[in-house]
Amino acid sequence: MKVLCVLATLTLVAGQVPTFRSTADAVTVDVLATAGNRPIGGLTAADFEVRDNGVVQSIDSVRFEDVPFSLLLALDTSDSVKGAGLEELQDAARGAVATVRQADRVSLLTFSEALGGLPAWTPAHTSLADAIGAASAAGATGLYDAAFAALMHTDGEAGRRHLVILFTDGHDTASWLPAPAVLDAASHSDAVVYAVTTEEPRLDMTLELRSGIRLSRDALLVDRRMFLPELVARTGGDLFVERGSDTLRQVFERIVTEFRTRYVLSYRPEGVAASGWHSIDVRLKTIKGSIKARRGYQR
């Protein structure tokens, strides 16, 4: 989903990268339609129903595959990844980079308690491969801080979709920001987060080494929601708990491939308040299947 200040309708000019064109209040929603885990192709606006705060909206456009995207690889390089785990992660990152197309761009965010990487948005070229190869593992896990930074670090080039692949092998132990701050930021971001983890999600049971700040009086010291499932649900992405037969590289490549099969729906909200939280509900009208899309947006 994108809340576009200056951009709205997608137009593809022959020989050029497709770009959005403007109206002030247009909303776009990044949607994955699947049947039996397989993406459904060939859908048009007539196949979707979009409700904004419960009010059915008129879909202006539906785009498929031809919108370039910017991929942020947000990779946990804390101490526990050291050794073979890091090598596998680096291989997976290279696999994701190899899967993007010429018009797509990539940026690298590594994190322990400290953020690092290659913040520039680049096509898949040597500097990116060098940065992936240079990653080393040490330190605690600032997962919330890194997820917040990943949501904020979006490619400034107009008309791009944003995909974040967020990998962690554990749970937050060292962030300054609390989980609700990240989940709130997700409501303001147009990035779709696919999280990959090697551990089954669980509630964070202790403060551990986190700051213990609460950013509102009604917030809880330890969030009751499981962080990664909540984050991917809010952004319309997915969660992969990777302990099975697939290699990490296969998972990363699959995410990039799947992201390309998503639809981008655009509409101008009508019959709803201009500001505040807008819930979004996307359904298939003409065919059976499942939808993944973000839950809403903040205005």
Partner: protein, 348 residues
């Protein structure tokens, strides 16, 4: 590369690097023993540590004695202020680290110089006791690495005897805080004041209060006390502790106090105050990650997402160019954070 951050430090803005390099080049070997030139070298270290370390290593150690003696004199007799003394102590410590990693060389002599300077700083101002305290734990490790085991024990004993009355209580309080926080478990239920039992916090808080009563200059204790009060939802007490700690001469203490104060303001929905606290924290420690993320987060909350993105991007650019040690990362490693963390307190 001398320091852990050596290669990246070279990417610091050209003008700053050139100025620092010029200051160092201006010091000929013949001039070095003079107090003024030694002081210029220490000032250059705060801007560009690698070049200054190279320079100090090139000076015969025996030639430094008079300059160091002059620096350590009482201020009324031309001695240096405490802030400059601790910078000089770190310069010699870094020189010792280099010599230990690249033997042979007079590493122990440099540590002895550093000890003289750290002592003088602590004598000059009780507020700099923190430096001597943390430097000692590093020095003991380094001396042991050189094989000077007896000397290491001597340094540890001597500094222990000089510690302020509140120090031992402070150490016990840190342990109590650590145990209390780690022992808390998520408690299901709709508790509006947080959902942890927070048992055992009272004991740690009392110890921090006692440490501050015995040694009011021990403002690190005020940060930890404020955090425990914050977690315990005693907002007024927490804010008072952070205000007190924000006056610390220690960079990381002042930084953390402002950072926590910002979070307290956010809890009251005082977003303007929170933003101001975070920006002040960034003035104290310009490269720090937690303050910049906190600032970005409050910008998002106040509908300024575009600014928030710029703030995060700035942090990522900084992190890619210069290794950063955020004081928040060493909050739990009090006195055990190593040379790099202590250097981060000194080098700009």
């Amino acid at each position: 590369m001398r320091t852990a951050s050596g290669s990246a430090k070279r990417k610091i803005s050209m003008s700053r690097t050139v100025l620092a390099a010029a200051a160092i080049l201006a010091l000929s070997v013949a001039q070095i023993p003079s107090t003024a030139n030694y002081r210029a070298l220490v000032a250059a270290y705060r801007e560009s540590p690698d070049a200054a370390i190279d320079r100090i290593l090139a000076i015969p150690e025996r030639d430094l004695g008079a300059a160091i003696e002059a620096a350590a004199r009482p201020q009324s007799n031309g001695g240096w202020p405490a802030a400059d003394l601790v910078a000089a102590a770190m310069l010699h410590t870094d020189a010792a680290v280099h010599l230990i990693e690249h033997p042979p060389g007079p590493a122990v002599d440099h540590l002895n110089r550093a000890e003289t300077l750290a002592d003088a700083a602590s004598d000059r101002s009780p507020e700099y006791e923190w430096f001597e305290r943390e430097w000692t734990s590093i020095a003991v490790t380094l001396l042991n690495q050189t094989g000077s085991v007896t000397r290491a024990s001597e340094v540890a004993r001597r500094v222990a005897a000089r510690r302020s009355p509140g120090w031992d209580v402070f150490v016990r309080a840190l342990d109590a805080e650590d145990r209390a926080v780690r022992a808390q478990l998520y408690t299901p239920g709709p508790r509006a004041d947080g959902n942890m039992a927070k048992e055992g916090f009272g004991g740690a808080k009392k110890l921090f209060e006692e440490a501050l009563r015995r040694s009011p200059q021990l403002l690190d204790a005020a940060v930890h006390l404020g955090r425990m009060e914050m977690v315990d939802d005693r907002e007024d007490r927490a804010s008072a502790a952070f205000v007190k700690a924000a006056a610390s001469t220690r960079r990381s203490t002042a930084y953390l106090a402002k950072l926590f104060a910002g979070a307290m303001a956010e809890r009251r929905n005082a977003f303007g105050d929170a933003e101001a606290h975070y920006r002040r924290a960034l003035v104290v420690a310009p490269g720090s990650q937690a303050a910049r993320l906190a600032l970005a987060q409050v910008l998002v909350r106040t509908g300024r997402s575009l600014e928030a993105r710029q703030v995060v991007d700035e942090q990522l650019q900084r992190a890619a160019a210069i290794p950063i040690i955020d004081p928040w990362w060493v909050y739990w490693r009090h006195g055990k954070a190593g040379v790099a963390a202590l250097r981060a307190e000194i080098v700009k």
